[in-house]
Amino acid sequence: MDLPNAETLVAHLADRIAPHVGADSALVGIHTGGAWLAKRLHQRLGVATPLGTLDISFYRDDFSRIGLHPQVKPSDIPFAVEGRDIILVDDVLYTGRTIRAAMNELFDYGRPRAIRLAVLIDRGGRELPVCPDFVGERIALPQHQNIQLTLDASLRFVLSLQS
């Protein structure tokens, strides 16, 4: 299967988000791929509010089954969430569970005015009522396959497929 060029998708995605960025907007990336992507979008879109990152390990719904992620990173929300327009960024949208966890975590920082969701790839297969606002590309993937955002040697985005 041919995967799209990730760098091109980033550009598309940025273009789609751009009209919606205002003074109260803030970008929040979800560890790990979403944080890379959010950092890139943050630069491209010239968002004034500092970039936020979330590690949703403490909010996962499968903790009692698989335990704590071995490398938890601190979440970092360097702005007041109250009344903010937040654009939540992740690399791949699949079941929607990560987004559910991320929204729960965001609310523990305060009450945002709105949360919008931006993803590079929407691979379908939702298990929760989650719908992205901005999408790089939609790709239908069978259940046994995984798509991931990685960085190559020159720190360019690459999409890769695992079975």
Binding site: Y59, F63, L68, P70
Partner: protein, 318 residues
């Protein structure tokens, strides 16, 4: 070599009973995880849903409001249900043994026991006895260990002095009776600290302590020379006068940390104390409240470290 009873067959930490013999990776994993919890306390909602639905018993056979509170806060910030049991005199005077108590609480579907007991080895005893899905945290057993205190001290040191390999650390005071000191000594050595010193009169130094990996000093000027971290230990009231020490005054004069004695240390040394402090006995107020003191940050980090330990234990065996 006997099996380390706190590590399960998958190499995961199943109980936290002592820091002795813990692999370096596990220790670092706890400290790294704790770093993620520090921020939780600064948010609007100081709580994460990680241990929602879990029942944690604070099983205090020896009273300690302070330690119990830090565990209670940590558990509540993880959304666990916490029950405090101060068992002290009541049930033990009725002839109920420690293991009877534990069996009773296990029958109430406990997920975790935080145990404080005046006897060394009590937490080990309980850990050996409980069902495999129950986790035990030692919150201080006799003179043996106080692993979460040891860990929060490591967290604090690392916060201010990230590289242990170049550090000289001095632990000052009642080494004989201190479980905190024993846990600190093990942790410092596991983390590769350049030099660990202990300083106290001979009546407060337990025999064979060199075997734990420390250098023994009896004089503050020599012992503090060039150290980067000073950890002062609490001197219990009952030991300030009697056959171990003649008086608190004499102790303070020779072993209390005053600005003059602090000057023997390296210029940017930090001062720590596990609390509660006896001002004017082991530490002078101007040092305790001075700018080299990191005693209050210790308390803050303590909660994050205990949250980390609880969540790592709760995720073992899953």
């Amino acid at each position: 070599m006997r099996k380390n009873p706190q590590i399960n067959q998958h190499g995961e930490l199943n109980h936290l009973l002592t820091l002795e013999g813990l692999p370096r990776e596990i220790l670092l994993h706890i400290l790294d995880t704790a770093a993620s919890f520090v921020g939780v306390a600064e948010r609007e909602v100081k709580k994460v849903p990680l241990l929602r639905g879990k029942t944690i018993f604070n099983l205090f056979f020896e009273p300690s409001t302070r330690t119990r509170t830090t565990f209670e806060i940590a558990a509540k910030r993880l959304s666990a249900d916490v029950l405090n049991l101060n068992i002290g005199a009541s049930s033990q005077s009725k002839g109920e043994t420690v293991l009877d108590t534990v069996d009773n609480l296990s029958a109430m579907h406990a997920d975790m026991f935080i145990v404080r007991h005046a006897q060394s080895g009590a937490a080990h005893l309980i850990a050996q006895h409980v069902a495999p899905y129950i986790h035990v945290i030692n919150a201080g057993d006799g003179r043996h260990a106080h692993p979460t205190q040891g860990l929060l001290d490591m967290y604090t040191i690392r916060h201010y002095k990230p590289d242990f390999s170049g550090l000289r650390v001095a632990i000052v005071g009642d080494l004989m009776h201190s479980r905190v000191a024993r846990s600190e000594i093990h942790a410092l050595n596991i983390l590769g600290t350049q030099e660990v010193r202990v300083i106290a009169p001979k009546t407060l130094i337990p025999s064979g302590v060199e075997g734990l990996g420390v250098k023994v000093y009896h004089n503050m000027a020599a012992g503090l020379a060039g150290v980067d971290v000073v950890i002062m230990l609490r001197l219990q009231h009952e030991r300030m006068k009697g056959a171990i020490l003649p008086s608190a005054q004499e102790y303070f004069k020779y072993y209390g940390l005053t600005p003059e004695k602090l000057a023997y240390c390296s210029g940017d040394a930090i001062v720590m104390h596990p609390g509660p402090m006896n001002r004017g006995v082991e530490i002078d107020s101007s040092v305790a409240d001075g700018e080299q003191s990191v005693i209050l940050p210790q308390v803050t980090f303590g909660i994050a470290v205990r949250m980390a330990v609880m969540s790592i234990l709760a995720s073992s065996g899953s």
